[in-house]
């Protein structure tokens, strides 16, 4: 029985390229109408997973259902429900933006008139109305990405796959894509997005799955993941870079040194006790602090922590 609350179900997905196990038993469920973030470093298997879920690639093993429909046996049905923004631009470079959208509209069987109207509507929505008749090869990277996103929305898909949608965009382009994703989710679309940016997952995703070496190594909301690495952190910014190492040795727990920002950062459990302890220890050692801050961990730190653990387990 397909569970209609679940837009995507992935079970035991495996894919091997030669001797490289790109996916190694990936499991995932995504509730309808939510944003699922897939967070992972280069080579983690994000693109491979998205290509299998969007019918482009056949898995060696495992099962994927999108909207209760199996991607292997009923690919055409899945294709009429999904939109895909791949990692690389999937538009025709020789044609204009408008020609691209109109062509895709026809191929989604909207009919000539509706395909044209939809093309104009999407060009306007993504700020491409003025450049709609230029060849795509003359577009900037950001324009191309926006056109690509517009193309993936032509059929008003119920499930949208976005593979690193903002990689290579400037901050403004990134904001535009984020806003587009938010408004889609407001309209009930289920979104699965992969990213290397923890901030992006933090901003957009309801649920985050951290993957590495082709499987999920942690899962939960951004807050749940943050609390996984033991609560809060203390950041100490120094005057003198030369004293960083000394300062690091004085702080408790899991310490990270950032030379560029002249900063050491440590995990702590008891906020006030840690603060007084740190101030006293630094003073006793004659190290002058410019700033001391208590804060929640960033997803970056969660990520480093998780992937490092994973490497240790594998070793």
């Amino acid at each position: 029985m397909p569970d209609h609350d679940l837009a995507i179900v992935v079970e035991g997905l495996r894919k091997r390229y030669g001797s490289k196990q790109a996916l190694d038993g990936l499991d995932l469920t995504v509730r309808a109408g939510t944003v699922q973030g897939i967070l992972g470093p280069n080579g983690a298997g994000k693109t491979t997973a998205v290509r299998i879920m969007s019918t482009l690639l056949r898995p060696d093993e495992g099962r994927v259902e999108v909207g209760g429909v199996d991607v292997r046996t009923r690919a055409d049905e899945v294709r009429s429900r999904i939109g895909l923004l791949g990692q690389n631009a999937a538009v025709d470079e020789e044609l204009s933006g408008r020609q691209n959208l109109e062509m895709f509209g026809r191929l989604y069987h909207l009919g000539a008139r509706r395909a044209g109207a939809r093309a104009d509507e999407l060009l306007a929505r993504f700020g491409l109305a003025d450049t709609g008749n230029k060849a795509v090869k003359q577009y900037s990277g950001g324009m191309r990405r926006r056109l690509d996103l517009a193309a993936s929305l032509i059929s008003r898909p119920g499930v949208l796959f976005l593979d690193e949608p903002t990689t290579g965009l400037d901050p403004r382009g990134r904001m535009e894509v984020w806003n587009a994703v938010r408004s889609l989710v407001g309209g009930g679309t289920t979104v699965l997005l992969t990213t290397q940016y923890l901030e992006e997952a933090d901003q957009l995703a309801d649920q985050i799955a951290v993957i590495d070496h082709g499987k999920v190594i942690a899962e939960g909301t951004a807050d749940e993941l943050k609390s996984k690495i033991g609560g809060d952190r203390i950041d100490v910014v120094l005057h003198d870079v030369a004293q960083l190492a000394r300062a690091a040795s004085l702080l408790p727990g899991d310490v990270v040194v950032d030379e560029d920002r002249r900063m050491v950062s440590a995990s702590i459990t008891d906020r006030m006790a840690a603060l007084t302890e740190a101030v006293r220890a630094l003073e006793a050692a004659g190290i002058e602090a410019e700033d001391i801050v208590l804060r929640r961990p960033t997803l970056d730190e969660v990520f480093m922590h998780l992937t490092r653990d994973d490497a240790e387990v594998a070793a």
């Binding site: 969007s54 482009l56 020789e94 989604y108 909207l110 032509i154």
Partner: protein, 272 residues
């Protein structure tokens, strides 16, 4: 939620969608031409240049008696059709390397339409190419001596050869998949062309070579086309030489029967 029209599963509507998708993909190729007219013109000028070069500079024909132009033009038309193999192979190789193919694959369209669009566009280009060559041939003094039906029959045989080369090209592009291999094929097409009676007559060759030449599919088409135009032929009394019309149909049909299904299957399985 989805705006894409839910398709009724009837075979009739499936076929009409396949036709509509194929037409959309053909329009894509035509739009490419419209944006790159220079490339299209170069594609048409190249065979014309070859024709002029062979008739005026090299001239005289290798062992051909009588009017060389009358012998040459059908041969050049045949060679142009055979060279279409490279054009198709190059276009498909370039296309498959493009990201847009991924979008086509993620859409509920007829997947064969990508190949059909390619083949319709290539055939259109070949028809235009033939018309230009015939017109130039006429201008430099070539004539055909049979009726309109024979003329159209000759064009039909040439386009049949082109259609066969098209599917061979699509298949090779998918098997090879790399621009370097296209180059290898581009180089190989030349000796295969010269191992036919397109330009030279097999009479002038050692007999073992002459036999190879007579069995070359290009020779069959060129000989049949010469007969239909009423132009002088290459002669020869071997089975292949005297049954050129039959072979001019049989060779392409066999090639299509082999490479069409292979190409379609290959395309379906690609990257899966």
């Amino acid at each position: 939620m989805s705006e894409a029209t839910s398709e009724s599963s009837g075979t009739g509507s499936r076929l009409s969608w396949a036709a509509a998708d194929s037409w959309t993909m053909t329009r894509r190729e035509l739009a490419h031409w419209a944006r790159q007219p220079v490339q299209v013109v170069v594609g048409l000028v190249f065979p014309v240049m070859m024709l002029l070069m062979f008739s005026y500079l090299i001239g005289g024909g290798q062992g051909v008696a009588g009017d060389f132009k009358a012998y040459l033009l059908p041969g050049m038309l045949t060679m142009t059709m055979a060279f279409g193999l490279e054009a198709t192979m190059l276009a498909v190789t370039q296309d498959l390397g493009k990201g847009v193919i991924d979008r086509f694959r993620s859409m509920p369209m007829n997947q064969g339409a990508v190949l059909v669009g390619r083949s319709v566009a290539d055939m259109l280009q070949s028809v235009v190419g033939l018309v230009v060559m015939v017109a130039v041939g006429y201008a430099i003094g070539w004539r055909w001596h049979e009726g309109l039906a024979s003329f159209l029959g000759a064009m039909g045989l040439l386009l049949l050869l082109r259609f066969a080369m098209l599917w061979v090209g699509i298949h090779l592009a998918m098997v090879a998949g790399k621009p370097e291999l296209v180059q290898a094929v581009q180089i190989l097409v030349w000796p295969v062309s010269f191992l036919s009676n397109a330009i030279a007559s097999p009479e002038s060759m050692p007999s073992w070579l002459g036999t190879i030449v007579e069995w070359n599919p290009m020779s069959a088409t060129a000989t049949a086309v010469r007969a239909l135009f009423g132009n002088p032929g290459a002669g020869g009394d071997s089975w292949a030489a005297t049954h050129a019309e039959l072979l001019a149909v049989a060779w392409p049909v066999v090639l299509i029967a082999v490479f069409f299904p292979l190409a379609v299957k290959r395309f379906r399985d690609l990257s899966r």
